[in-house]
């Protein structure tokens, strides 16, 4: 439950972190987009402004070109006109010359100031040119209905005594075209204004010219005259029909429009935003010199930022897509993380359980030292220093029937499988050695069991030994384990047969070896965790160091402590990569015990020799009367059994009795070369049975079992060997 809550909390934090990450990413993207948008807008605005200004300048230049041409046409004819004042008949040649010599001029007149000439009070010959055909016609403007002296082109220069560009107007004589007139006073020798010379220019080209200015597709241009009359405008119905002031009055944003109008009419140049019919527009304007016109480009803001908006939309779309992807990736990552977390936890749990399993296994392995405090013939110590990862090292030992069974093993690999195989190895060792005394047989059965079920191809190097504590004989079988060190007069490696490790090949016969084991001999078994312990320089501890460390007489436990210390010094800070397992067996039997021998013939009368023999043994063991009585009884029963059953033919044979006393421990080994006879195989007697059911026999072995602590029968080298032991 506790760990569940922890889980939720962890997941919760991760969820919040993910949310925060998404929000931050979104904000960053949005901020970038906004900044980009703002800068782009500014850039675009500047760009538009520059382009508008340059276009305005270009248009103005073109207009000025025409304007200049018209002005030049008039100015260049002024001196002729002044000269002609004295020859009124030739006056008509002046406009003729202005029109024909100047392509931009569509009409021209030389209008006399009324009263200047006596001959005619009104005189204004007009020459007009058809722009399409080039045909020239002459009319007189001195008509009553036209009344030229009241026309602006006439009155203004007269009033100003200077040249003047008229307001644009529709010419009624010259073919209904929109035009404007440049007028200039013509003076006589006295400096009196005698006439006004004009040049008309059509404004059709102006519309065309201005229409060519296309800063943006939906931008448009407006040209106004000095009075605010609209000269050029995309809405044709407005041209010459209304003024900008009237337009401003009709609009919903009078102030802005009026401000623009004032600026334009006062001949300023610049740019201003204007709201018109619900839309924001940027108006760029610039005056046209001398004419009093103002040229403007109107750019709807929507149009201006269309591109940016479109890019903005794409950016937004990409942002959303990116965020969606980020969310998806985070979800997947979080899931993976949760999975990983889960796996990790599982792994931890398994490892934890494995450690517990290992502890249980370790608990089964004898770990109390000295393990047999009552025995003076054996000094044994063992140790496992486990690596961080669970490994598969094993040692085990126990005493059965005066024999020390022991083993050391190293399972290939590490982790769970190794640990499981180790558990199997241990239980097999215990199972097989319960009934079997031969190491080779134990190893062979273990190998068969393990090979048959070994699907993981794991193997176990295994050394199994059986030390006969009475006889001082070591029998052993090595299944691929590194050879132990035997400590006799010298320290050397125990010679071992190159048997395969366990679990590789079923049906293999393992070869058994033996060696006498005398008083003070010792055996040191270890796994490669010791010999292959590495220091930081990757040097191995090695057999030579092990051998060196083993010198000197010590208790087994002290030997192990010494080795541990030496390895620890050698390895230093380098991590321990493998289990390190050691088993030290120091034999102190045989020489320490007094041996008593008695050889009997297979004659029942020889039983009478037993009391004296038992007395001698008992004296050494300092036994009391009751103990002597019982020992005597047990020995007699054991020996009489042999005489009666192993030698039924009564041929002359011997029964050999060896008695040993080790402290308070007495044992008899009864050896005969009769037919195989195992007294321990007899059924036990039910001593509580009714008399009628009581068999006559079986009491003897019952007494032996009751009196003695261990009774062990062996058929060895054609002999029956019965060992009975009693601890006092």
């Amino acid at each position: 439950m506790k760990s569940d809550r922890k889980d939720n909390k962890k997941l919760g934090i991760s969820m919040r972190a993910r949310l925060l990450l998404v929000v931050v990413a979104a904000l960053t993207l949005e901020a970038t987009a906004i900044i980009q948008f703002v800068y782009a807008q500014r850039e675009i605005k500047q760009e538009a402004s520059l382009r508008a200004k340059s276009e305005l300048k270009g248009a103005e230049n073109k207009i000025m070109d025409v304007v200049n041409q018209a002005e030049a046409a008039v100015r260049n004819s002024i001196w002729v006109a002044e000269w002609c004042l004295e020859n009124p008949d030739s006056l008509v040649r002046i406009p003729q010359r202005v029109v024909s010599e100047n392509p931009v001029v569509v009409g021209s007149t030389m209008a006399l100031v009324p009263g200047y000439s006596v001959k005619d009070s009104l005189f204004a010959p007009y020459v007009a040119k058809n722009m399409e055909t080039g045909e020239i016609r002459r009319v007189s403007l001195a008509t009553e209905e036209y009344d030229y002296p009241s026309q602006e082109w006439f009155t203004k220069p007269l009033e100003l005594n200077d040249s003047y560009w008229s307001e644009p107007y529709f010419d009624e004589n010259g073919g209904d075209i929109l035009m404007t007139t440049f007028s200039m006073p013509v003076k006589d020798k006295n400096g009196t204004i005698a006439a006004i010379l004009t040049a008309d220019i059509s404004l059709d080209w102006l519309t065309e010219l201005v229409g060519e200015i296309k800063v943006y597709p939906n931008a448009f241009n407006i040209v106004i005259s000095r009075s605010g009359q609209i000269m050029v405008c995309p809405v044709e119905t407005l041209v010459m029909q209304t003024t900008v002031d009237r337009l401003a009055l009709e609009s919903d944003d009078y102030e802005a429009l009026d401000r623009v109008n004032r600026a334009m009419l006062s001949g300023q140049s610049g740019e201003m935003p204007v709201r018109y019919q619900g839309q924001t527009n940027h108006v760029y304007f610039s005056p046209v010199e001398r004419t009093g016109w103002s040229l403007s480009i109107v750019l709807p803001e929507k149009e201006l930022y269309n591109g940016v908006r479109r890019i903005g939309m794409i950016v937004k779309l990409l942002q959303l897509l990116g965020l969606a992807m980020l969310i998806v990736i985070l979800r997947v990552a979080a899931k993976n993380q949760a999975k990983y977390h889960h796996l990790n936890e599982q792994k931890e749990r398994i490892e934890n359980e494995l450690h517990i399993a290992r502890e249980i296994q370790m608990a089964m392995i004898p770990k109390t030292f000295p393990p047999f405090p009552e025995r003076k013939d054996l000094d044994l110590a063992a140790a496992i220093i486990p690596a961080k990862e669970v490994g598969g090292d094993l040692y085990d030992f126990f005493i059965r029937d005066e024999k020390l069974f022991f083993c050391i093993a190293d399972v290939s690999g590490k982790g769970i499988p190794a640990s499981l195989v180790m558990a199997v190895t241990r239980s097999l060792f215990r199972a097989m050695s319960t009934h079997e005394d031969s190491p080779a047989k134990i190893v062979t059965s273990m190998n068969n069991s393990m090979s048959e079920t070994n699907e993981s191809s794991m193997f176990v190097t295994f050394f199994c030994g059986v030390l006969d504590l009475n006889a001082g004989q070591l029998r052993y079988c090595n299944a691929g384990h590194n050879p132990p060190m035997i400590l006799t007069d010298a320290i050397r490696m125990l010679p071992v047969e190159p048997n395969l490790p366990l679990g590789i090949l079923s049906g293999m016969d393992f070869i058994e070896q033996e060696t006498p084991f005398h008083y003070d001999d010792a055996l040191f078994l270890y796994t490669d965790g010791l010999s292959e312990a590495e220091n930081a320089a990757q040097e191995q501890f090695g057999e030579a160091r092990i051998e060196k460390t083993l010198h000197g007489k010590k208790r087994s436990q002290d030997h192990l402590e010494n080795i541990k210390q030496q390895v620890s010094l050698f390895v230093g800070e380098a991590p321990q990569s493998d289990d390190l397992t050691m088993l030290f067996i120091h034999y102190l039997g045989h020489a320490n015990k007094n041996s008593h021998h008695l050889t009997l013939h297979n004659n029942i009368e020889q039983i009478a020799l037993l009391p004296e023999f038992v007395d001698a043994v008992a004296e050494e063991a300092q036994l009391d009367h009751e103990a002597i009585f019982n020992l005597n009884l047990a020995l007699e029963e054991a020996v009489s059994n042999v005489i009666m059953y192993a030698y039924p033919e009564k041929t002359d044979n011997v029964v050999d009795i060896e008695a040993m006393v080790e402290g308070k421990r007495v044992s008899f080994v009864i050896t005969d070369s009769g037919k195989p006879f195992d007294p321990t195989a007899k059924e036990t007697v039910d001593i509580n049975a009714d008399m009628g059911e009581r068999p006559i026999g079986g009491l003897g072995i019952h007494l032996v079992r009751t009196i003695m602590d261990t009774v062990n029968y062996e058929r060895k080298e054609g002999k029956n060997v019965l060992t009975i032991t009693k601890n006092y």
Binding site: I607, M691, T706
Partner: protein
């Protein structure tokens, strides 16, 4: 090993003295077999001087006990030492015999 057998009325008393081990048991078996024929009487096995008994001796006791049961007689074990008592205990003979 010595045995003395005394008869008094219908009671036969057997005095054991010394060690009743396997050879001794073999030695007295004929006498004991004869005794078993008289098992209709009361037989007292006096063990006050019996210092040792092994399973062969116990088998003789058991044989007598079975014969007495068959013939309607009675076996009484008398005056056993602690040593003999312990052997009787180990073998369950304490329950088989009337012990005085």
């Amino acid at each position: 090993m010595n045995i003395n057998i005394s008869r008094e009325n219908n009671t036969i008393t057997v005095y054991f003295s010394g060690r009743l081990d396997t050879p001794a048991a073999q030695e007295i078996t004929p006498q004991m077999n004869a005794l078993a024929e008289e098992a209709s009487n009361s037989i007292i096995l006096d063990c006050s001087e019996l210092t040792y008994i092994s399973s062969s001796g116990l088998r003789i006791f058991l044989m007598l006990r079975k014969a007495a049961a068959e013939k309607g007689g009675k076996i009484i074990v008398r005056s056993i030492t602690n040593d003999i008592r312990s052997v009787f205990m180990m073998t369950g003979f304490l329950n088989l015999f009337e012990i005085h």
